[in-house]
Amino acid sequence: MTRYLLRRLFLMGFVFLALSLLAFSLGYLFPGDVVQNVSGLRPIDDNQRQQLISYYQLDQNILQQYLAFLGRITQGDWGLSFSSQQPLLHEIKLLLPATLELAAYALLLSFIIGIPLGILAAFKPDNIIGKSISALAMVGYSLPIFWWGLLLIMFFSLALGWLPSAGRIGVLYEIPHSSGFMLYDILQADINYRNEALHNALQHLFLPTIVLATFPTTVMIRFVRDAMLNVWEQNYIKTARAKGLNRGQVLYRHGLRNALLPVIRQIGLQFSTLITLAMLTEVIFSWPGIGRWLIDSIYQRNYPAIQAGLLVISTMVITINMLTEILHAFFNPLARRG
């Protein structure tokens, strides 16, 4: 295990090195003035330009520039956004919790729904329940998420008027900002309209969570179903049946434990898909998260923001991926090899 951990950590260091190199080179790859791209300040007069060049060490060689870049990133000086001229790290800190909140609920939902349905579909793959679950999973797997979101808005918000179609909470409610996670903030806040605000926030959360959870849920169903069917063919299951355990016992003692082990790994893989799909969901539901901010930054050619967004999202995705891999290896000794 120690050997495995060391190898993983070494790999992670290597990956972050590559990522920082990519982010560093983006400042030069993007069109436009390098000084503006790196600092985010605009417009820049000649006097300021000289100062900036010496501050960012742009007159030094490329290695020096890279080291200076690393130093700035670790100290939290990520430059300014072109459009708002605010420090980028501050903007990201305000936006990230909204995305994480949405993604976390969707991930949770996909596990709660996906795993039982997958097991059910594998239990009797050829009867009507198993077949309809598989068909449902196939449909959900093929849905373009932005269209699915629009359909739900058309139905629940425009036609029926049951649920709001945009934002995190109604403008009537003033929630003091503490952590950025809406539900937590509401429960924390010292306000007399807490229940109404909570109800409103949940209404806003409902549609985006459903839309975002659709794809991971179907992937989960298919994954669990295939894993269960695979495990069910193994010899140790036949042995267990032969020694007289009934179906429930075999399922619980041998089937589930082996089939659900790879699911841990799915958390990491699903998370990276979720973050991408969250971008589309946020655009459709006007959710004030980092995905919509990144898309807007691309529209506005806001290069420092694109760079920072890429760095944050990739770091998050890679870290969670590595953590779930390590967790998986912790539970499954077979995964420690190779």
Binding site: S142, P144, L150, G268, T273, I313
Partner: protein, 297 residues
Amino acid sequence: MSKFRLYLEENNRSPVKQLWREFRRQHSAMTGLVLFISFFAISLLAPFITPHDPYLQVDELLLLPPSWSAAGLVQYPFGTDDLGRDLLSRMIKGTSYTFGFALITVAGALVMGLILGALAGMSKGVKSSVFNHILDLALTIPSLLLAIIIVAIIGPGLMNTTWAIMLALLPQFVHGIRNAIDEELKQDYVVAYRLDGANDWHVLSRLILPNIWEKLTIMATMAISTAILDIAALGFLGFGAQAPLSEWGAMISDSLDLIYLAPSSVAIPGLLIFTAVLSVNLVGDGLKTAILKRRQS
């Protein structure tokens, strides 16, 4: 697993014929195949079969409702958009953009992946280990995010989207092909062939490629569905096909501000994307099952 056979008949059909036999037995897969072929035919024939010019703006017929409503015209089955362009013709034309470009993208990624995967699979030692780790990094980033980043650097447009998605699909192809080759190299017949004096190129072209083409087909079908969804998503976000082009995702975002007036102009292109992806997925799943059954029999 060998099954008990009542009649000892010789089964010497070619692998393709056996595969087709197993594939044909699945109704869902056949439905998918029919849909897939029709989409493919439409995307090839699109310029010849559109009933109207997809870019012609008819001023008298703005926002015509579909023909099943009372105010619609039978010449315009899906109605017209806010510029008076025929929606059916635009959707037919859009098939070649969304579906056709997805096929081209996957074909490009497959060729590049085959070359890189073969190079990686046949080499050993430190070089292959470093390459593997870089691939692992690229694989953790989802293809759509990678495509968005590439588009952010090279700028929007349908052609740039194609390149971006091609590059974004590449890591999973290289990874899959490399693993498939690795598995083949362990087989005894490869060793035997090598002892006969075959070099790397002989092994690759005579033994490995014929044995991994099934895996390649499955990889390619899965990638086509990803590519369709990615092209449509980028078009929807405004990074893909630009204004007059009738790519399906871009059509949805065009008619987004008309969602109250003409909900069908949002619903129908989305339904097309969904059907196209579904057909590809059905074929992919059918192939997977057919290959599994062929191996077992």
